[in-house]
Symmetry: C2
Subunit: 467 residues, 2 copies
């Protein structure tokens, strides 16, 4: 199945410029033939007709960020041409993909590790090896793998260096495998490399119901007598408590600093901070002597669908800057972590992954899937995550979407673990109703999309928006 | 031996205002009677004659910082009055004291953990328990202990909380015991708590021939395949190489950043930075992804005997301040450490000390004493350390100084480990000659001391120099 002439980098594969329609519009769109490994091409635009027929026969669906902005900026397109593998690379038939906050930041143009649009986002996926390039000795066709990459994995076929893949352990589903790499490696390296977590220590986990939050909580519980403070809205408290959070805190109604101080007056050993801005200051002040603040994002910058200049400016204004003399006098540590900037360090990442997979095999950790969405539903999947309505990981599946399902509902949601959650479901229903209200508003906003698009295309040509 | 009416804090004990003469002046001065635990008082000034005779009978020599400035600001005085022990405290007959950079900073008014003068400096000592207060269950009269304190240990008798003392292991000399606590706890907590040092990592140790430098090197060698880069002037390279430094770098003739990059192009896992200022920037840039910079001082501020405003200003100007976004994008950690600000955390310190003492008992670490000086020689001891002429720890002994030794020579210097060091000795001799030259210059400067003193006394009254 290895290709010949097409460019090796999947993001360079020939893009079909004609975009498939977003899910809100009920028109028919191209679906791939599921098992065959090749999809029917959408109507081929004139620009690509010079390609040779064999290449055209190999097509696959891909999500493409077409410009910075709202959820509708990520379009489902069909790429054409079988990728050529360079030495050390493998081609993966993707089964499931993980969503991460960096993907949301990237959509708004707030993440500089993604090339400028058009580009396929996606830092992690799972799938089956379909072809191996030269010099690849440790992967073979048919291997089930999970993949880490700087970007480019939200598509049905991905070409990646074999060194960026990890064998999926026996019994792990493709969804779990797509949910695991970014969140668990991030949580592991923060807690055990920078954080040096030891028994009897205390940790504050923000967004404890998010992907990293749940991973961090599970990893904390692998160490004896670690106290986990976790922020989340009240409806999620039961779930995160069951997951290992010792003290859930509703950050929407309470001052989390006060809540922590009530229980732990001296402060904390470790604070994981995905928020940035003024929350980083609070985190720093909550540290005990020898405490470690590990900041790994600026999610406070994300306000609304599109880049919110006020939120960005506010975040920058409050962004934490620390003087070494303050660190010395406080005996404190401030660390920054982002897996997206660590892609040259596969040895470090592999070491962490080995340990994480061992813990999985021992049953000590397990990704919690919030919901799984078809590629066509990526906008709703992103919305669920950005609006903090998820508990656990939001996952995309490359399985074709049955015609009758082409609604806004996720493929599966909150599957399993549904016992004794009747009360919660009522809450969720309320939340969902609220969400539908919001969506109506969004749709109104999305109607003038065509005009917007033209403007974006103008902007995209000079690629000024790239940092 | 417990006293009754005198103030409990040793620094509050009645000071004999008449200062003993600095060592440069060959006049006779009061010496304590060595074994008896009480010293002949110096001529008692009129101001203290109202004290009751029993208290006056208990006297002891103490070094006192009388004002901020040069080496001569630390005077040997006689304190009078038996300290009263509070619950939990013990009285220690001090045998030896360690010198630390913080003591040098304190003398110049650059260390805010020392109360304003007059005050007895000294963060560590060793000695024998002479009395125990109420509620002390784990120390008894006769125990050999080492002591950590914020200040106040450079004297013959020290009253400290029992919790700030550690039993000296069998076979460890008082000198080694006075040399161990600050340097080894500092090095241990930096490398293994903040640094999370693991096999195959690389560490840059500045001032590798200093007390912390030697401790850090020895501790690095307890971990498999750790590469140690150590800066020191060329004459010290042989010694630090024998002590475990893999790559000694002469920072006086070479750019240490370039030297490190030649050998380790990707950079380092850990940098220990006692320098501050622009060297902290260099350290940060030398870090690998997931690297840790641990800054623990601002010795660049120390230029000359007295506070050098230019050096202080330059250091402040270049002082490192880091933005969290830079940390995130670099996947780096910046930590500040200073044992002097950790005195409320005896549990953490005790844990570290237990491990350090275990390593000592296993023969894996051993303090290296550069030289031992009498209390009368404290100025020369400080000078040796400040001028970076030491290899290892500079120690004070409370043993009385024989009349014939009342010169500038240390009590013992570079004792032991003298095999196959003939070449080195020649170098040292050259260095000593050079030092004598310098000292001649200093003496010239010190001659107009009496005039200076008057001015200082004026300044000391309003205590404006205290931060």
């Amino acid at each position: 199945m290895s290709g010949e002439d097409a460019p090796a980098q999947q993001q360079n594969a020939v893009d079909q410029k004609q975009e498939t329609k977003p899910t809100e519009e009920p028109k028919t769109e191209t679906e791939s033939a599921p098992a065959a490994g090749a999809a029917e091409a959408a109507a081929t635009p004139a620009a690509t007709t010079e390609k040779v027929p064999e290449e055209e026969a190999f097509t696959y669906r891909a999500l493409v960020l077409t410009g910075y902005g709202g959820y509708d900026k990520v379009k489902l397109q069909v790429k054409k041409g079988k990728p050529v593998l360079k030495a050390g690379e493998i081609m993966v038939r993707v089964k499931a993909c993980g969503l991460n906050f960096a993907d949301l930041m990237a959509r708004q143009g707030l993440y500089d590790r993604l090339p400028s649009p058009p580009v396929t986002p996606g830092m992690e996926c799972s799938g089956v090896v379909e072809a191996v390039g030269e010099e690849v000795t440790d992967r073979k066709v048919g291997d089930k793998v999970m993949v880490l990459s700087r970007f480019g994995l939200w598509q049905e076929v991905a070409v990646v260096p074999a060194a960026h893949t990890f064998l999926i352990p026996e019994g792990m589903s493709f969804e779990d495998a797509a949910a695991l790499p970014v969140n668990y490696i991030t949580a592991y390296m923060m807690l055990f490399d920078f954080g040096n977590l030891r028994p009897n220590q205390s940790v504050l986990v923000h967004a404890a119901a998010g992907g990293v939050g749940i991973a961090a909580t599970q990893l904390c519980k692998t160490v004896k007598d670690v106290t986990v403070f976790g922020t989340a809205s009240a409806t999620k408290h039961e779930t995160i408590s069951e997951g290992g959070v010792t003290h859930p805190i509703d950050y929407r109604t309470k001052d989390y600093v006060e809540e922590v101080r009530k229980i732990s007056p001296k402060g904390l050993d470790i604070v994981l901070d995905p928020l940035g801005g003024s929350d980083t200051h609070k985190a720093y002040n909550l540290l005990k002597p020898m405490g470690k603040l590990i900041t790994y994002g600026t999610s406070n910058m994300l306000a609304g669908q599109k880049k919110n200049l006020l939120a960005v400016a506010k975040n920058w204004y409050h962004q934490f800057s620390i003087h070494t003399l303050s660190l010395i006098q406080g005996n404190k540590s401030v660390c920054g972590f982002h897996l997206g900037y660590l892609d040259g360090e596969m040895e470090l990442i592999s070491q962490a992954m080995d340990i994480v997979l061992d813990l999985y095999k021992q049953g000590k950790i397990k990704p919690r899937i919030d919901s799984t969405w078809h590629l066509e539903q990526v906008g709703d999947a992103m919305r669920k995550m950005q609006e903090r309505n998820n508990i656990g990981k939001v996952v995309l599946t490359t399985e074709p979407m049955p015609e009758e399902e082409k609604k806004e509902e996720p493929k599966k949601e909150d599957k399993k673990e549904d016992k004794k959650k009747d009360d919660k479901k009522k809450d969720d229903k309320k939340k969902d109703d609220a969400k539908k209200e919001e969506k109506k508003d969004d749709k109104k906003k999305e109607e003038p999309k065509k005009e917007e698009k033209k403007e974006e295309e103008k902007k995209e040509e000079p690629k000024k928006e790239e940092k």
